[in-house]
Symmetry: C2
Subunit: 438 residues, 2 copies
């Protein structure tokens, strides 16, 4: 067998099967995983253009950040220690009204993608204005993304009204059709910020185009009370009534859930994205991940935007998810390390409908691979590599990253993004936005 | 004024005062902070042997890990996803009975200290067998520590019975008397593992020697039930009855507290150490930090040992403390960034009774200082340096560390610890212990 690259590591963690493969190699050919096999056999059987030996490293599938707002990296730390509605109404929405233009989205997405690649994320599910810009920046960086075709009731520089949002969204979808890296999803902001008519149109269009629908749902108790007051029903009932509770649903947050709502979601085949750090930081409540997973619901993991987290670090998010699930369930066995890693990889791919393409180290899938160095003092000794990955490893231990077989991080250096220029642009935005907000 | 070293940074965060000083410098002389002043004035007024300019960096007091078991770094990840008592009885205590000898303690402490210095920790409060060994390793590394004069009812290679533990403890205290870096504290393990007689003797000795008493208290609900069954009272009542509820108390965990117990602690002047990641991981419960601080109790922050965390990362611990407090209090304004940093610095020094010496960037105090690089993409842009430190910065952004004015981390390289040898020893222990436990 021929391969472009053969990567040998002490541990290969495929995620789609329970075992950890010691002293194995991954063969990459034409952007895909061609084989996963013992290193000894690989050296004998595979005629590789290049070989890379990584002692002390683990190879894992690239992490999938299943919910973020990448351009908001430029608002990182702008307003902290505030509840969701104060934070949104008094800080974030005014800042967005003033700043969220194309140039901002381009620079913010690039900063976010630099951070995500450095932290082992190879795919992100985004929701923001100017998704075409984010898609182009991601494609140029060799990054996989699902860009959200955003819809919201209030006007923005992206679109003036419901029709405008959908029209521009469809145009973005058309623009990236067939792109090997850039996927699309409808992204109505939330039940409280999008009315019934556009939600219904999105439900119809999502079925026609076979696209996921990415939406914030049941983030806070206040959202539920508001919906009961305004519509007489809880938000999930409204989504069901407009036809959005089905397998295409990617419902983000879900901190407030009653038993019959969990059953409804389980029966529908809908997906949930858990954002533990954002939910804690905004005191939004706890997503009952163990109960959801026990009900058979696919639960993915997301960082949310950098303005409410304040980083896009999926290693830290995995750790928080695994720790918090134990605290919330009052059970130290809840969400063990392997479940946290699966949530951050294969479950994310499933949520986005791209698990045939990525999310595990499976021959035939795209070579979206992360090499992490467990030889650092912070993760020594290694009894169980999964424990080290989830409970002790840091983003800085990510040493190499490949997406579609292209190496986008090499010895911690970004190969597709000009980091100096990205940081210089961030400093310029700091001056502009800081002036305004102080 | 003369100084050995003048460090200039974009931000100096003293912690003992609310302001953040922009473009300031710290003058270090003879191991102490001689002055904190604007960089311009410093260049004019101070005749410094050496100057170091750190654009994009923040200077903060060295972090104080107020509760750990440093040698347990060698058990990192040995047994995870298990409840406290199963973890202790079936895994940790048997492993300790087999392995916790002098050589293990020396190698484990060194690995832990390497990790802590790399993560910006300049002082740790330890509880383990062979505290003399940990103290010697810390002193050699130039690390500040409070080593615990451990007491526990069961025999170990360190001591055979209550008298033995106290005798050896006093000898360790004598050995380090007057040491500028190594402090001591009594460290009875927990109310459930130490009987009344040794607890009473420790109360008496602690008063005579003016030493803190470092003890796990009210870690789990099971501990309370067990005490009610065995002694007819809750553990805190037992500690009060033996005379241990006073300002010298360093009570660790405290996840189960009734209102009158909070009042008792507040009135006594006792100290609490919060270990949020360990409490989550072992599903022990939540320490009500906001209520404790509102009651006027000094609350410090600790990682616990690496076997139950699984790292000794005080940046990650600060982030978890700040996030979890919001979740537990259902208030996004709870434990803001500045309070989290104070908890990890000055409050730790206060708990150990060494706040005259360290814990803030105050002229006259020991030069225990950390320089952290906020110029990385993960913490850009910087609107509020405190937000970036607590919610976004990672341990890897710590670039330089000084303890008593001695630079122990320089451009991320340890200057006092042979890292290669430390890691080689960790790998040897991995082979020994892994054989046994598999």
């Amino acid at each position: 067998m021929q391969a472009d690259l053969l990567i040998h590591a002490d541990w290969v963690i495929p995620v789609d099967r329970p075992d950890i493969l010691e002293h194995h190699a991954i063969a990459i050919d034409d952007g895909r995983i061609a084989a996963v096999l013992p290193s000894g056999e690989a050296r004998e059987q595979i005629d590789a253009g290049e070989q890379l030996a990584l002692p002390g490293h683990a190879l894992i599938p690239g992490l999938i950040n299943a919910h973020t707002h990448s351009p908001m990296a430029l608002f990182r730390g702008l307003a902290d220690d505030l509840p969701l509605m104060t934070w949104l109404h008094d800080h974030i929405w005014p800042a967005e009204a003033r700043w969220a233009h194309e140039e901002f989205v381009g620079d913010g997405s690039r900063l976010a993608i630099a951070e995500m690649i450095r932290g082992g994320t190879t795919c992100f599910n985004d929701m923001y204005f100017f998704p075409d810009v984010t898609g182009r920046v991601a494609a140029r960086a060799g990054m996989r993304a699902a860009v959200g075709l955003i819809a919201i009731d209030f006007p923005s520089t992206w679109a003036a009204d419901a029709d405008g949002y959908l029209e521009r969204g469809i145009a973005v979808h058309d623009q990236f059709r067939g792109d090997p890296l850039i996927h699309t999803a409808f992204a109505p902001h939330a039940p409280y910020s999008v009315s019934d008519a556009p939600l219904q149109r999105i439900a119809t269009l999502a079925h026609e185009l076979d696209l996921p629908v990415h939406i914030h749902v049941h983030e806070t108790q206040a959202e539920i009370s508001g919906s009961l007051e305004q519509h007489g029903v809880r938000p999930i009932e409204r989504l069901r009534d407009v036809g959005l509770i089905d397998p295409s649903l990617i419902a983000v947050h879900m901190t407030q859930l009653e038993d019959d709502e969990i059953r409804l979601l389980a029966d529908s085949g809908g997906q949930i994205v858990h954002c533990p750090q954002s939910n804690l930081k905004l005191a939004s409540g706890h997503c009952p991940v163990v109960r959801l997973m026990d009900a058979g619901i696919n639960v993915a993991l997301g960082t949310d935007g950098a303005a409410s987290n304040n980083d896009l670090d999926m290693f830290s998010e995995m750790q928080t998810a695994a720790l918090l699930a134990k605290g919330v369930a009052a059970d130290a066995c809840a969400l063990p390390a392997e479940a946290a890693l699966r949530m951050a990889t294969l479950s994310g791919a499933r949520a986005l409908g791209i698990d045939d393409l990525t999310g595990s180290l499976t021959p035939g899938k795209s070579a979206d691979i992360v090499a992490i160095d467990l030889g650092q003092p912070e993760t020594q000794p290694v009894y169980h590599p999964l424990s080290q990955l989830v409970y002790a490893a840091g983003r800085e231990q990510v040493r190499h990253v490949w997406i579609r077989g292209r190496q986008v991080l090499k010895q911690r250096t970004l190969t597709t993004i000009d980091l100096d220029d990205t940081l210089a642009r961030a400093r310029i935005w700091r001056e502009r936005i800081g002036e305004q907000s102080s």
